[in-house]
Each structure stands twice: as C-alpha cells, then as structure tokens.
C-alpha cells in the first residue's frame, strides 16, 4: 500500500499536467506547450506536453530535447502577453537546424498560458 502511494506521487511528479497544476497552486505563472501535429520521424507523439514557468523552469518534453530551448524562450513571451502561439519546427526551418531538430521530422507545437 505504502509503495503504491509513493509510486503515485512519483508519477505525478513526472506528469507535466500534474506539475502544471501544482505550480499554478503555488502561485507561479505557467505555460503549457503541446505537440499538435507531427510529420515524418518525430521523437514525441501528438499530445505530449512540456510545461514552463515564468522563471524558465520546465517539466516534460515535446521533442526529447531537440527544440525545448526554443519553446521555453517562446513560452516566456506567451506568459507575459497571454496570447497563445503556434510554433513550427522542421528540417526546412532555419531555427530548427539551429536548435537541433536534425532528425528529419517536423513538429507543430501550441503554447498557451494557464489562466
């Protein structure tokens, strides 16, 4: 029983939407980034989340590390102005090369503020 409670808590810690809720209750400003569409070989499936706070802390992933940096910096702006943003990363995109999505895939990421 005890081990189950612990594993549930550990699972919550790894789950981005649970993290987002906890941060929100702590009074932090939070943005949620979600993989909306993928083409070719994308490292994370549609529906995957990355959550980011105003200080740049983050949890989860939308690409297994390729574009997280860019998403986190865009999230800061989304948190500041409140307008959601659609981001696209792919091999044809300059930014994607710079941030390292060289695996041949293309992904669309939706970033929105919580609240």
């Amino acid at each position: 029983m005890t081990s189950q409670i612990i594993s549930q808590a550990a699972e919550d810690q790894l789950d981005p939407l649970m993290v987002a809720e906890r941060w929100m209750l702590d009074g932090r400003d939070v943005a949620v980034a979600t993989v909306i569409e993928t083409w070719g070989s994308a490292p994370r499936p549609v529906g995957s989340h990355l959550v980011i706070d105003a200080e740049g802390n983050f949890s989860g992933s939308v690409s297994g590390g390729c574009v997280e940096g860019a998403v986190i910096s865009e999230a800061a702006e989304v948190i500041a102005c409140g307008e959601p943003k659609m981001l696209e990363f792919g091999v044809a995109d300059e930014t994607a090369w710079r941030v390292g999505l060289s695996c041949g895939g293309k992904i669309q990421v939706y970033v929105e503020r919580v609240g």
Partner: protein
C-alpha cells in the same frame, strides 16, 4: 488553458476516467469532455472517434480547427490464479504496457519466489481488489478453475464493464459457470461477454503459448473494440 479545466482534467485522470481536452485553435478556448457527454454534429463524431481510438490530433469541424487531446487511463490486467500460465502471462503483459496484479488466496501458489517483480496478492479477490476495483480499463483473466475463487471477480468485472473478461476452462466447465452466473442474476448478454475457453485459437499447448493466446485476445479487445463491448462501456 483554463486553470479550472486543468484541475478538472487532472482529477478525472487520477480517477481513471477517460477525458478529452478540446482546444479551439482560432481563439485558444478550451472545453473538457468526459466520455458519454452528448456533443452534436461533426465535432461530436470526431470526439466519439477520438475516445474510441485514444488518438490525439487536429480535427476540422463546423469550419473550425480544433485540437483534441485524449487522456485514456493506462490499461490494467488483473489475473486471478497464481498458476503456471500466470507466471508467463504476468511478465509478458507488463512488457506490453499493462499494469498487472496477480491474485490468489492459495498461499502455496501465490509465493514471491514464483512471481518475482510481480504485484502479487495472496488473498481472496474480494479483499485484494478493495484498493483498486475493476474498471472499464481493466482486463480480467480468471485462470484458477475454482468457482470459489473465479466467480466473484468475473461477476465484478462484468458489472464494472471491464474491456476484457476471460475465463479458463473447457466448454463443459464453462456451461456450469454460465448456470451459476445466471443464478447470481446476470443476464445472457452480460455472461456472453466472457471469453471462454480463454485465448485466441492458435493451438496453444504450453502455459507460455496459452499466455500468448490470452495476451493477443486482450490486446484485440483493447485496440479493436467490438460494437458489443463498446455498447457495454457506454452503459457504465
């Protein structure tokens, strides 16, 4: 994202309820939908399909673009009987992504030595399932051959709308089981949901082969739900 809906969604996920968070990609507004909520038109069809397939994605409906993020609980498997088949089935099912629990009140069978790294409970199913009752995202596999042990979890799984209910036993054994379950007040359609004899017909002989046949049947029930099982799930 609406903070209130985020909390509601997380609460539903903790409760193992299927839910869809819908986002209008034009204005960013959200809507949270639970399985069975009535939604009309093209969007309703898309939502129904998303619940069925468990797949997230962008849909076009009523001239607008929506993103549907589907949150379906992870599938569980409850195996009644710590027998030879279960020793093979438990690790195979875990490998395929199921959260597995093996239950058997017979302490000679339910020993940690026989079930290393498996969630094993040496107790009656009535007690062993108190902390995690059978739900629609659970497969119930009853393989003890003993009605005293198998019948209660079978009835409980049918009533809960478990996505798969299978029981070991010959046709003769099953005929007697059908009689007992009818006496217990279950209807013909409900009892008809039990897969018995258990497992896909692949000519399985060894316990390991039977485990493969069972796992194949469970996966088919999860990924290719028949209209029959869907109708059952809707009722819950």
């Amino acid at each position: 994202m609406d903070p209130h809906l985020l909390r509601k969604l997380n609460a539903a996920r903790r409760d193992r309820q299927a839910a869809i968070m819908l986002t209008d990609l034009a204005d960013g507004r959200n809507r949270l939908m639970m399985k069975g909520d009535p939604i009309a038109g093209e969007l309703g069809e898309a939502v129904e399909k998303a619940f069925r397939t468990g797949k997230a994605g962008v849909v076009e409906a009523e001239g607008q673009r929506f993103f549907l993020n589907v949150h379906v609980p992870s599938p569980r498997m409850v195996i009644i009987g710590a027998v030879h088949i279960s020793q093979a089935l438990a690790p195979m099912a875990a490998m395929a992504g199921f959260d597995v629990r093996v239950i058997d009140p017979r302490t000679a069978f339910a020993t940690p030595e026989r079930f290393e790294n498996v969630d094993l409970v040496a107790d009656w199913p009535e007690d062993a399932l108190k902390d995690r009752p059978i739900d629609p995202f659970t497969a119930l596999v009853a393989v003890t051959h003993d009605p005293k042990i198998d019948d209660w979890p079978l009835i409980s799984a049918l009533k809960a709308g478990a996505f798969y209910v299978g029981a070991l036993g010959s046709r003769k054994t099953h005929a007697r089981r059908v009689e007992r379950l009818s006496d217990a007040g279950l209807g013909e359609a409900e009892i008809g949901r039990i897969d018995a004899p258990i497992g896909l017909d692949i000519g399985a002989q060894s316990p390991e082969e039977i485990a493969v046949a069972i796992l194949g049947q469970v996966i088919a029930a999860l990924r290719k739900p028949s209209p029959h099982t869907l109708a059952q799930a809707e009722k819950v």
